[in-house]
Subunit: 178 residues, 2 copies
Amino acid sequence: MSGISPRSVQRQHARRNGEEGAGSGRAGPARARGDRIALGYLTDHVGYVVRRAQLAIFKDFIETMEPVAIRPAQYSVLIVIDQNPGLTQAELSRALAIKRANLVGMLNELERRKLARRVASPSDRRSHALHLTANGRRMLARFHRRALEHERRATRALDPGERRLLLDLLGRVARSLG
Amino acid sequence: MSGISPRSVQRQHARRNGEEGAGSGRAGPARARGDRIALGYLTDHVGYVVRRAQLAIFKDFIETMEPVAIRPAQYSVLIVIDQNPGLTQAELSRALAIKRANLVGMLNELERRKLARRVASPSDRRSHALHLTANGRRMLARFHRRALEHERRATRALDPGERRLLLDLLGRVARSLG
DNA sequence: TATTGTTATACTCTATAACTATA
DNA sequence: TATAGTTATAGAGTATAACAATA
């Protein structure tokens, strides 16, 4: 544990301007106009803080990639296919924790845009070997340049060591729950 | 910047087992059975790493709170009402970045369960002053105990200083994108 | 029997527009 | 004219069940 406990929650739980027993029906504006809203110990919950950061980062990523029409999940799929040419949909599904069923539409779209291809596997006729097209690799390089621009913006408040540390800490959290 | 660059991306872009020019139609199993799938530089993107951590944390939170039927957003709403008795729905909406329209159903549910109440505001008859009921405060204390249990699990891979550091780094990232 | 890709479907979250009543 | 709460609705993203083909 670390800094959060029932005791500290109690302490942080400030009773504002004498408001008491609202359940009994007392009304009245409990706060003066313009007062800032306190999030309290919510900002001490890793889940909340991670969520807010994730939303801010994705918002910037989506805006950055909007001109090339690539969503976060599509970008991750393209990278994993590029790094593992010939992998199957089931393997891709497991690697990215995307349900097999939900990959179908994504791959249809990537094929439609001539970025990726399903190739019949000769060894196992149930599965498809996934590849980027030559065009897909070319486009992925362009996507990278934009994604890097986003990455710089997303981590501009951190120095290189802090950025690395953040990735490490988050990785440990995810693995420990995995 | 910090450790990620077009150059490093190039370097990491390994061409596995001689696979080349998949766009031209070459098939064949590009990977031996049982090979691990490489995520490559995906794990160097703060967006991807934050997203995976957030999913793992929320999964544990949702499972932990399932017996008391509280979702992450509901928990955050209860905390902010508790910390700011009498605040309006619009204020709550802004504080948590939840759209006004999407708060309506949530508050209906919390009222139905006798955890929170909308009280007519005398000063501005358009708005509602939000309060926890006495029961709501009692229940929130129970929710806290479970949430703390979750928090311990989610950050068990970190020491207290690392946990604090993680919250700080994420806060800076979110604020810098704000 | 188990697995692969697929379809159909549902549920949650989130986003927008429009309405009403107030300010 | 703008804001608060509400309704209705649409779009993502994600989840499950079931099926045909194949292992």
